[in-house]
Amino acid sequence: MIGPLQTGFGALSWGNAVLICVGLVFIGLAIVKKWEPYELLPIGVGMLLANLPGTGLLVQPHEVGGEFGSAGILGVFIEFGLLRYTILPQLIFLGLGAMTDFSPLLANPRLLLLGAAAQIGIVIAFFGALALGHFGIADFGLMEAACIGIIGGADGPTTIYLTSQLAPELMGITAVAAYSYMAMVSIIQPGIIRALTTSKERKTYMKPQIRKVSKAERIVFPIVCIVLVILLVPRSAPLVGMFMFGNLLRESGVVDRLSDVAQNALMNIITIILMLCIGASMPGHLVMRPETLMVLALGLVAFACGTAGGVLLGKLMKVVSREPFNPIIGAAGVSAVPMAARVAQHIGQQENPRNFLLMHAMGPNVAGVIGSAVVAGAFLNLLG
C-alpha cells in the first residue's frame, strides 16, 4: 500500500519493471515498425498503466463492494467486459464479420479444408500442455491446456474469449502471446513454409480467381453458417453468431449504416477498450513464473504446427488437384487475417513474379477464423 506522500518507486517490483519495458517495446514496435499498431499500441499502454504501482486503475467493482466510484477504469472494463459478461471479444467478432469478405472462400469452397487443417496446431499444443501438467513440470490442467492451445488459432478475440471462460488467470499472457505471434507472422511463417515446400512448389502459378461470387451466395452463407455451425457446436454461438451477424450486415446491402458502424466506430471503440484490458491483464508477478514462459513457448509451437498443418494439406491438395495448386496458401489457414495471406502472397510472388496468391490465400485465411471459433466452441462444449 502506498501512503499519501509516497511515490511509486519504492513499490515497484522487478516483475513490474520488466513488464513496463515489454510495454515500451510494444509501443515502439507499433510506432516505429508499424507491427499491428492497432493492437500493440494500446496493449503496451495497458501494460504500463497496470504495472505502475498505487494507481488503483485495476481495482474491480466487486473488490470494493460494488462501489463504482472506488473502482478503477481498467478494473471496470476487465470485470464487466471480460470476466463477468465476456462481451468485448464477442463485439469484436461482430466488427470482424462486417469487415470480412468471404468471396475468396465461396469461389473455391475446398479451401475451407486448409482452414481446418491449420487448427492442428491447437490440438498439438493442447496435448503438449497436458503432458507438461501430467509430468508435474507445470500446473496445467485441461482448462489451461485448451487456452494455451487456442493461441495456435492465431485469433486474438477467440483466445481472449476462451481463456476468460476457462482459465481467466491466464488471460493476459495467452492474449499477449496470440497478438504478438500474429504481429510476427511474417517472421515466423516464411521459414516453416520454405522448409516444407520445394522451390518448384512455391513457384506454382495459380490463375487469378475469376469465378464471380453472386450476391445471393454472399447473403446465404452467413445465414447457413449461423444455423449449421451453431447446431453442430452450440457453444461456438457467441463468436460464430456475432461474426456471421456482422457479415450479414455487410452483405445484405440494406443496412449500410449499421455495417459502417460495426466496421469502423464500434470496432475502434471496442479495440481500444479490449486491448487496454489485455495489456492491463499482465501484472508484474506473472513474469516471475516459469509457466508464463511455457505458455509463450507452447503458443509458438501451436502457431508453427498450425502453419505446417496448412502447408502439408496444401501439398496433398496439390497432388489431387486438377488445376495447378500452390501449397503455400495453406499457411494462411492459421487466421491472422490478413497478415498470413499476405505472407503467402509475398513468398509466392518472390518465387514467381507472375504469381498473385492473395485472393487464393484469403480463402483459407477467413476459413481459419471460423475454424478457430469452432474449436473454441468445442472446448467450451467439452470443458465449460
Binding site: P208, I210, P338, F356, L358, M362
Partner: protein
C-alpha cells in the same frame, strides 16, 4: 523483327494507386510496375518478364477488374 508481347493483367479487382514505370522504360523480371489497392492493402504488380514497357493502359486512381489489361511489355 516483331518482338513478343507480354500482357500484364490485373490479378485482383481494385484501384490503381501508382504507376511506377513509363512507356519506353526497360524493366527486369520482378520489377514493380504498379500498385493496386484492394482489401485495404497495397499490392505490387511485378514484371513477369524482362523487356520494354510498350503500352500502359491504366492511370492513377482508376478502378480495375480482375483480368483487365494493365501494361504490355515487349520482350
Amino acid at each position: 523483327m516483331k518482338l513478343a508481347q507480354e500482357i500484364v493483367e490485373a490479378p485482383i479487382t481494385g484501384t490503381i494507386i501508382s504507376v511506377e514505370v513509363s512507356v519506353g522504360n526497360q524493366v527486369e523480371e520482378g520489377d514493380v510496375l504498379l500498385y493496386i489497392e484492394s482489401m485495404k492493402m497495397e499490392n505490387p504488380i511485378l514484371a513477369p518478364v524482362a523487356g520494354t514497357v510498350a503500352e500502359i493502359r491504366v492511370s492513377k486512381e482508376q478502378v480495375v477488374e480482375t483480368g483487365d489489361v494493365l501494361i504490355i511489355i515487349e520482350c
